[in-house]
Symmetry: C2
Subunit: 315 residues, 2 copies
């Protein structure tokens, strides 16, 4: 399986830490020290999970002349911040592309959904039921976030990304997806209460951030080791590590556990905050132009719920 | 692929049509004539999509000694009426079963999600990444429904079902899943506005019921024919047709298009209303004890968004 192209969409408005200082007294220094976050993007009125998914889709298809929109035969969307749970982001993308009678579904495994979506695509390729797949990850965190919440209100940002996948190589720049691994671990720790988004009751809350932190660090490091072992590689072989963009301290902890220098990680949390399941895909889009033959990339994610995943990519 | 067992959970409270007569003046006769619905179930306070999923899971596992909970290695949940989009119903089930580090994901393709979930399982089986899968469909429509809505407030009911799937036969009563087909058709008609559930803005609405009706009839009949043709069968070979339980008039229209007598269809809409993606699975659970060797069953679904699917099962 190959990733042929990836593209991101970010809304224009930039929210600085000073916004939260004014709202609830959290200082720029306090936020930066604990999370690494300096700014995050906020969707404009009228923008939502579906519109951002459409923008990312337009961009990825515009960058991929070898992958015509008319040939898309599978769409998997992912979000935990849905605009519509019936006319989902995957359905909105299908309508835009005007390709009918192909499997279309949206999923959530919280912040780890990018890898669940790619593993679902891997299954359709294995069955021979699809050959040109579009994965779209999109989060409208600010629609469900209480900015006043001093525990987590300052963490979240909006954004989307889209990826084109094929079972066979289309171009020499395609990334070979060597291994995808996903796992739920809802049975550990405070998975049932640590991060929740109950649309009828309230928005995103994270009352047990420490439990999330500990498990995110542990599982992202471990599943990275697992995908490397399956490919007889060691951490030194990793050109870029792209972790879920939840907190710069989590990224540093994972690097430390793996024995990797800080410059090996790709990070957008400083600028974008936690963009949920879109974060790692946006980071891959930003890294795309830097990739060279022989490079090996690991994407590793962890989400509330809890769920984790990792994927080894090779150019 | 085989369905080894299926079980349903329904909340206790029964809501009659007279409830809506008192609320908004719709008579029992008016509702029955247009929809076939006489009663529907309503989740109790404290019940939700996750708790109903747990109840259905307990029941299906209790009925399946050959499929121990500890062997579950894939959980796919489905709902468009989520209790929690982060700690999803699939994660809640994982925590209850206490099986760790297996793929866990929840999906939505609206009312057609049962078949999307089963097709995703089929993919994991094809990859050899799972051998004991649990699919759980659960809808808490009343949490998102405006009862006062005279267009669709009287349609919805709550309920859940769980299915156990394996790549090989475990018992002679297992149903052989001969073919699964799913398709999104968000590009036709008023798919973008006909049925929506936008958690931030409002609950379930169906302002273009006629467009849904027309497309549901058309696609459920067509995809039924498609799965039969792929297996060199004709409609006469179908012992039971289990359509999505949206409206008794839709079921009758589909039967008429196919040239099947009315007693060939399994129907719970009279008692349960539209239980979303759980409806056809609940109907399969109710039919389970009647099935005999040589029986052939077609489940055919259609959902807002739009999406459709069909599955041929054989005992």
């Amino acid at each position: 399986m190959y990733i042929h192209q990836v593209a991101a969409y970010l809304p224009a408005e930039i929210i600085t830490n000073e916004h939260f200082t004014r709202l609830n007294g959290l200082s720029h220094e306090w936020i930066t020290e604990r999370t690494g976050i300096q700014t995050r993007r906020k969707a404009a009125p009228g923008e939502n999970t579906n519109t951002m998914a459409l923008e990312a889709t337009r961009r990825v298809l515009a960058a991929a002349p070898a992958f015509p929109a008319a040939e898309v035969d599978l769409i998997v969307g992912a979000t935990y911040t849905p605009h519509d749970t019936i006319y989902t982001l995957a359905h909105a993308v299908q309508r835009e592309l005007n390709v009918g009678e192909i499997p279309v579904v949206s999923i959530s495994s919280a912040c780890s959904s990018l890898l669940n979506a790619i593993e679902i695509v891997e299954g359709y390729f294995a069955m021979g039921k699809a050959r040109r797949a579009l994965v779209v990850v999109s989060e409208h965190n600010t629609a469900y976030n209480n900015e006043q919440d001093t525990m987590a209100g300052h963490l979240w940002g909006d954004g989307a990304a889209a990826l084109l996948l094929t079972p066979e190589r289309l171009s020499e720049n395609d990334l070979d997806v060597r291994t995808v691994l996903t796992g739920g671990v809802a049975n550990v720790g405070k998975a049932d209460v640590a991060v929740t988004l109950k649309p009828v009751e309230k928005g995103i809350v994270m009352p047990f951030g420490k439990d999330v932190f500990i498990n995110a660090c542990q599982y992202m490091a471990r599943v990275t080791q697992q995908v490397l072992e399956r490919n007889n590689l060691s951490v030194e072989d990793v050109t870029y590590l792209i972790p879920h963009q939840a907190n710069l301290r989590i990224t540093k902890n994972v690097l430390q556990q793996l024995g990797l220098p800080e410059d090996r990680a790709v990070s957008n949390i400083q600028d974008l905050g936690n963009t949920g399941c879109a974060g790692a895909a946006i980071a891959l889009a930003d890294t795309w132009a830097l990739l060279k033959p022989g490079n090996q990339i690991v994407i590793t994610v962890f989400g509330g719920g809890y769920s984790y995943g990792a994927m080894l990519l090779a150019r």
